[in-house]
Amino acid sequence: MSDLFFLPDLASAAAQLPWYALLLLAAALAGEAVQRWLRLPRLLGWIAVGAALGPHALGALDEDALEVLRPLLDFAVGMVLFELGQRVDLSWLRRNPWLLATSVLESGFAFGAMFVVLLAVDAPPLIAAAAAAIGISTAPAVVLTVTRELRAQGQVAERAMLLTALNSAYAFVAVSVLLAWLAREYSGDWRAVLLHPLYLIFGSTVLAALFAAATLALLRLLGRRHDAQFLCVVALVALAVWASATLNLSVALALLAFGAITRIYDRRRLFVSLEFGRLGRILLILLFAITAAKLEWGLVPAGAAAGGVLVAARFAGKALGVFALAPASGLPLRKASLLALALTPMSGLAIVLMHDTARLYPQFGPALAAIVVSAIAMLELLGPLLTHFALTRAGEADEARS
């Protein structure tokens, strides 16, 4: 794997290798145990192991050890978003516009509900808005991993992935706009507030289009060779993550758009149904474990009550949005309620975003941090369980393999 440039410099990381090995080993065992004996998604095992080994618990992995893996995790996130983007079918939205309306409603209601709760616990309005915007996003990695593990197919699975892609895009735009706004409170420059979101949206889309064009050109050259396709896509996703980060664009938006545009213009279906396979699995294990490791579980008791209210408000908002247009969009109410449950997981990126926000803006006091952290912690465990439950209950899981 040494010719993969996105890997960290192993010489400096070699001292940590045993810990990474331990992490993978423990995660693999815990994942299988959870699957075999509890019949629950493996990723709960990965999360548990990460949380246990992390700096806030046993401390086998310290902050430095986590930081070394950062580029790898950035790539993993990019990979997940690219794959999710590929599942966004714009022609479906055109044929069934109620789906787009559903995504706007569920995101809007969830935002509104969380905003109100945060205001009620005395968060400054802008900070409350930023935190609520973070919460709009359903975790792409969780929805993809659970769906794939169950081999789920059907309206709940398809719509969960579509709505996740859309609400993640909204969330990242909203968070960027709000952070720009917060920045203005310090700098007093209004131009940034207007230009920043425009730069993010257009810049990310243009970048995505360029990468999509490059990918499709390469695919035409390679034909339907699965191995070669796989290597090219891994390389281009890594490059796209690097390019969007370097240009201060939104990695999430750019990678989602990269996936979506690649699919739209793949008119001759050159893409052999692409999956990131074993490499993807290792990266996902690391992603879930390390995200859980970073979480400050110690803050949970302090913020549990208000965090619980926040979680409930978010769920109520999403459920209302999904229910409102279910009949119009062709979804029976039973499946609509399961879809609302499936959208519960909160993005692990929320943790990163929250840390960034808290570092930049001191008004984000410890009380508020505790509330947000406990909400994230609750959803970290509850989210995958609910998605798993929803897909199984909807009868969309492949029984033989679930």
Partner: protein
């Protein structure tokens, strides 16, 4: 035990059942979508029936009873339009064709209904491998004896219907070299092939009674014959056709069978005897393997010629009957299939063009929608 009662129906009426493939809009593989589609179809008014089939990736549409080609065709189009409207809303592709070109049978899931579960338990992997898609044509008969006469007379023409409808050259990701690979999946079942040579309904009941007494079958559903009597409808059911790529072609095939039946009943051109079956499996193999280019051996006359030529010659004999049945347009379409190639040929050409089986599947989806 009750003998089977053959309910009489108006002679030369017809009905069509089509099994259609449900495919994923992204990867074009079969997808489990039947329940989702049916829950939405239930809210719409449509003629005929739209029903679940053995797996979640299959759906069946069936028409009412028709005596004329034009209304049958119109009803099939309405059924298709209803189904495609819902499928568009749910982002599911619906395609014709006798088999999915690259699905893997082990991935299929059996529908959650007692009969389906029973079939799956009894036949094991055969049940899942049986994820193939056929067109069934019902022809009305006034009584059981006439039904058996028609069954044996039509059996000589089974290779025509196989070659005209063949639309399953690809199976499990490979070119099978067959034009209809679907029928090979049917032959694996113990009670497949031709019906026994019995000529009266009483004899048939005696035969059925013995098999039932021996515990081999419980109902007519346990027979997977190419043509079987359907006593509760008062019809014979021709089951050899692959689902064509368009419902329009399905209607034309039904009209061809109807005209054939009228000719056979009115002019009685063949003396019914076991001899008719002498070359049955050979001719059927030729039709599955080579389609319209296959060879047809007439066991009674001792002649041989191409199946395509045979169809053209038969069309001449049917012309007067087609006039009586208002189905000349349909027979024109049948002639066009012989001259321009069947669906299997179209599929091979599309694949040669793109080199992508998913792409081929999506073109099948588009072709069903366009009707051409």
């Amino acid at each position: 035990m009750q003998p089977l009662e053959f309910r009489k129906s108006a002679p030369l009426t017809m009905g069509v059942e089509l099994e259609l493939q449900l495919v994923h809009a992204r990867d074009c593989d079969l997808t489990r979508a039947a329940s989702d589609l049916l829950s939405q179809v239930a809210k719409r008014r449509h003629p005929g029936e739209i029903k679940p089939e053995i797996t979640e990736s299959m759906i069946e549409v069936s028409t009412g009873i028709h005596s004329r080609y034009a209304p049958l065709r119109a009803e099939l189009q309405q059924l298709r339009d209803t189904l495609l409207e819902v499928a568009a809303q749910l982002n599911v592709g619906v395609a014709g064709g006798g088999a999915h070109p690259f699905q893997h049978w082990s991935e299929r899931r059996i529908m959650d209904a007692p009969r389906m579960k029973h079939v799956s338990q009894l036949y094991g992997y055969l049940a899942k491998q049986f994820t193939v898609f056929g067109q069934h044509v019902h022809l009305g008969c006034p009584d059981g004896d006439d039904a058996l006469y028609l069954l044996h007379a039509v059996s000589r023409y089974i290779p025509h219907l196989i070659a005209l409808s063949a639309a399953s050259p690809y199976y499990q990701g490979v070119d099978t070299a067959f034009e209809s690979s679907r029928l090979n999946a049917v032959f694996a079942f113990p009670l497949s092939g031709r019906a026994p040579f019995v000529q009266t309904w009483d004899e048939f009941n005696a035969y059925f009674g013995r098999l039932r007494g021996a515990g081999i079958v419980e109902s007519m559903k346990d027979f997977y014959w190419d043509i079987r009597p359907k006593p509760e409808f008062g019809t014979i059911e021709i089951r050899v056709c692959d689902t064509p790529l368009t419902v329009e072609r399905a209607a034309a095939l039904a009209a061809y069978a109807q005209a054939l039946a009228r000719w056979l009943l009115v002019e009685r051109p063949h003396r019914i005897s076991e001899d008719l079956y002498l070359a049955y499996t050979y001719n059927r193999f030729q039709a599955c393997r080579f389609g319209l280019g296959g060879e047809f051996v007439d066991p009674v006359a001792g002649t041989r010629r191409g199946i395509g030529e045979e169809v053209l010659a038969t069309l001449e004999a049917l012309a007067a009957h087609a006039r009586e049945l208002d189905s000349e347009a349909a027979l024109g379409e049948i002639e066009a299939i012989v001259r321009q190639g069947n669906d299997a040929r179209w599929m091979r050409e599309r694949y040669a063009d793109s080199g992508s089986l998913p792409d081929l599947v999506w073109r099948q989806v588009e072709r069903l929608r366009a009707g051409r």
